[in-house]
Symmetry: C2
Subunit: 326 residues, 2 copies
């Protein structure tokens, strides 16, 4: 009920009467009053005026189960929110939910991670109160070898959501970093539990630097936040909701064809370094080539100096522009 009352207050232009709420949920005035008090305690500023009702006067940047759930209006993506004020890592929590049989679309969100995970066991800095740490649980009926494409689907969805919500020129660094002005805004960590030919579940973790006002000197030339790029702060819950909406749509395109043909053009539009020279770093071997965007399997097509084209598979190699971090 808390989620729905929050939605009612947010969607109303003026006041919502206590009577209206009582009738909608078939509860007493006291029950409504209790929920309003809880919301106030969580930090919402709610005016209560006799004979008019309740009005949400300001939306602070609150993360809570109700706040996130009240923003999300998708069919399945993010419909079942597990919120943690603090946890080890949302990927770890989402995997646990996956083992326990939670439905596809379950979203683990934390305000703070004390053991945030980057790729290959690296850590992901996760201070409280300003960034987004979330992990979406999926149970796609695809082959395990096709699962890596989901990472690109998420990258595309995050880039679209950030562009639409913030106006920042968010772009994709192949395969799955989101960058702005040559610096990293967001990282994505996809993990999967699978049998030989059958996916138990996939967890896609997304970490977005939202309201971080500065970065330690060592990484300041490589990392940025939405706040630094836009010069203002953002509410996190609507950003989470926007990513879920974009993902649900892009994922349905992906599942329709089981490849990236449905988002390939849009992805390549947002990809950095297309048509430019890049360095392809293979283990023990590197070379320069011209990047021409992804194919429908998500491999990066690069034209080598001898004129041959190579399809580069994510993970085995890394690709970077000739200038700067990206």
């Amino acid at each position: 009920m808390k989620t729905e009352i929050l939605s009612m207050l947010r969607e109303s232009d003026g006041y919502v009467s206590g009577q209206q709420i009582c009738e909608k949920f078939h509860v007493s005035r006291t029950a409504v009053w209790k929920v309003i008090e809880q919301l106030k305690e969580e930090g919402y500023q709610i005016e209560a005026v006799r004979n008019r009702g309740y009005r949400l006067s300001e939306s602070p940047d609150i993360l809570s189960q109700a706040e996130i759930a009240s923003r999300i209006s998708t069919e399945w993506a993010g419909r079942n929110v597990s919120y943690f004020h603090e946890t080890d890592s949302t990927n770890t929590q989402a995997k646990k939910l996956g083992e326990e049989g939670a439905p596809a679309g379950t979203l683990a969100v934390a305000d703070r991670q004390n053991a945030g995970k980057g790729r290959r066991g690296r850590s992901w800095e996760s201070p409280p109160g300003r960034d987004i740490y979330m992990s979406l649980l999926l149970r796609p009926d695809i082959r395990p070898s096709d699962a890596p494409m989901l990472t690109l689907v998420m990258a595309q969805s995050v880039a679209e959501a950030l562009r639409e919500q913030t106006g920042i020129d968010a772009r994709i660094k192949w395969p799955n970093d989101i960058v702005a002005g040559g610096k990293k805004l967001c990282g994505i960590l996809t993990e999967m539990s699978a049998e030989i030919d059958y996916i138990n579940y996939v967890v896609i973790g997304v970490g977005i630097n939202v309201n971080q006002p500065s970065f330690p000197e060592e990484i300041a030339d490589r990392a940025t936040s939405l706040m630094l790029e836009a010069g203002r702060t953002f509410l996190r819950a609507p950003l989470i909701a926007a990513v879920m909406e974009r993902f649900e749509e892009n994922c349905s395109l992906f599942l329709g064809t089981r490849d990236l043909s449905g988002i390939q053009a849009a992805y390549n539009d947002l990809l950095v370094n297309v048509g430019e020279k890049v360095r392809v770093l293979e283990p023990g071997h590197e070379y320069s080539a011209l990047s021409s965007g992804i194919n429908k399997k998500g491999e990066l097509l690069v034209q080598k100096e001898d004129g041959t084209t190579e399809a580069v598979f994510a993970g085995e190699v890394s690709v970077r522009g000739i200038y700067g971090y990206v």
Copy 2:
């Protein structure tokens, strides 16, 4: 110390004096006596004769941490045993150990599973006191897409171990069932936790029907046990140890080349239906073909009626002989 005392007793032809044990482990006679009493309680028959010492007069079919560990003399496979008298499923436990950072080679063994797992979420009957349920944790430095080959490495290892320990004509039904006389003796369930290009861990679960005297009518024509095939019972711990030994050797061949070229010939020697007609069952389509064994990637090569050869990938299709279950 219990594991080592058990090994000393088992390896000695005659009596082992209390003094010998005391000196070896730098403990008191009372400490030795306590361990001997524990072993007796677990079911070992140990004679104690004044002035001569202790003698293991009979080895019952006991499963315990000490019993299993005292049988295993590999470098790494099965060196770290987690024994459960009863658990949900050894794959679930091994995955949990994998998440917690347990080393490669950790082996979860249970006497009974109350939620034993078969492929694709099916269940695996797991009554107490007579079968082997075990799951080996691995952390191979290979690509996730190469992990399915490990299932064939385990199938080969189980088949070799059972042949050597029991004399039964154990054979492989591609890709990873072990059969005897056309009936299933053992199933293997491989699960993996991976990032796009990086394996967190692989768990290979092995269920072997050992001393099961009969099967329910519905499956009696498809399932068998070592006891039914050999007409006698077997100790489980030495079988577990033999599988670990064979796996360690075969796995090192696999990791050397990252393909099955090192075991391909031996695997094809034990494979059923080679050179015979099989039915290839694809989703929504099936056809007859001549099986000619696996290639070095573990795909089954079949010759279709139009003369073309196809490499069939495990999981997408199933293959069965024209006659009977296998």
